[in-house]
Symmetry: C2
Amino acid sequence: MITTVFFDLDDTLYDTTRLASLARRAAVHSMISKGLPLELEEGCSKLMKIIREKGSNFSNHFDILAEEVLGRKDFKIVSAGIIGYHNSKFANIMPYDDTISTLIALKRMGLSLNIISNGRAVKQWEKVLRLGLEAFFDNVVISEEVGAEKPERRIYEIAMERAHCNPDDALFVDNDIDCIIGANEVGMRTVLMNRSRKESRTDVSDFHIKALSELPALIEKL
Amino acid sequence: MITTVFFDLDDTLYDTTRLASLARRAAVHSMISKGLPLELEEGCSKLMKIIREKGSNFSNHFDILAEEVLGRKDFKIVSAGIIGYHNSKFANIMPYDDTISTLIALKRMGLSLNIISNGRAVKQWEKVLRLGLEAFFDNVVISEEVGAEKPERRIYEIAMERAHCNPDDALFVDNDIDCIIGANEVGMRTVLMNRSRKESRTDVSDFHIKALSELPALIEKL
């Protein structure tokens, strides 16, 4: 019987992809408004190119964009980008429409709810707190804190230890195929969430859903 | 004749000291609300003690506070502190009551207005932009960008070059005695601003004022 559910955070409980895309657009808009001579669409595609080249965790995307366009450093314009980016993120971070109602339904079923997330501990906690989700979760396990990241065995094992459960009692929900495979390997049952219209693989997880709202009925049947 | 005025930023055009104090209080409040077992006043004095010991530019004050009180790392509580701190800063940053009206009056007198500030370029620009002040200033000279900081001669000289003025045409306004002395040494006329009720030295600057609103009349007389 399932007693314990483990959720991924980014793109599982809220729409990181949309949030980042809105924030980047807001950043470019703000940079243009302070003098970067570009059209919005052009600026957004230049920025995306820089992000693809440098990786999304690199912290100087705006510096490079300003320097590429102006041929010199411009701290005012970089600063405008950062302000636009952060204002947008703080204003727009929110759970998926069905996240809260699903979590409430699962709590009513008496389940223990937990998060297993890859990332920097303070950053991931900031998201949990800004999303207003922390009261739903018994444990939040973040890779930086435990020194192992999905799909490494150790992070799933630590999460199960903290939740006092066995793989037989555990269900793991994630949108990422590699992380699902890691959870399979420690013996958890797995649910791949795929909100996109594109088909994704159905052979790696025990179950697959299009939205979190399908979870309560799925768990009832187990 | 004075044609060009150079202003310090922090604690000259807006109240940094008050802003930081509000933000630290908001941070402690937020950490307590997420489980740090302290009274607000006690938490604020513990935090101030850490800031005095580590310096205000150290970035892990909240980590140390949480660890001191709990005897272990707690990323949730650190993250709550950071959220409280930033929310408070963004919500409360504003110019002094008389900053905008004074800047308008000086612009109407045909003066060139400029900033000379010590700090990180992007951080200082963020303040200028969030304060809504950038349109008043012809040049914003920040120590990190020019590789020299007040009271070194070089930063005043660079600022005067950029503003195309001589020391005879320049007036420098700051709340910091050392920075005033530096400006004296390059031949600028100087105004020490002291908003506090405490007396400060009156022997280092050419003029001293209690509020920015005294500036237009003072410059008229020169």
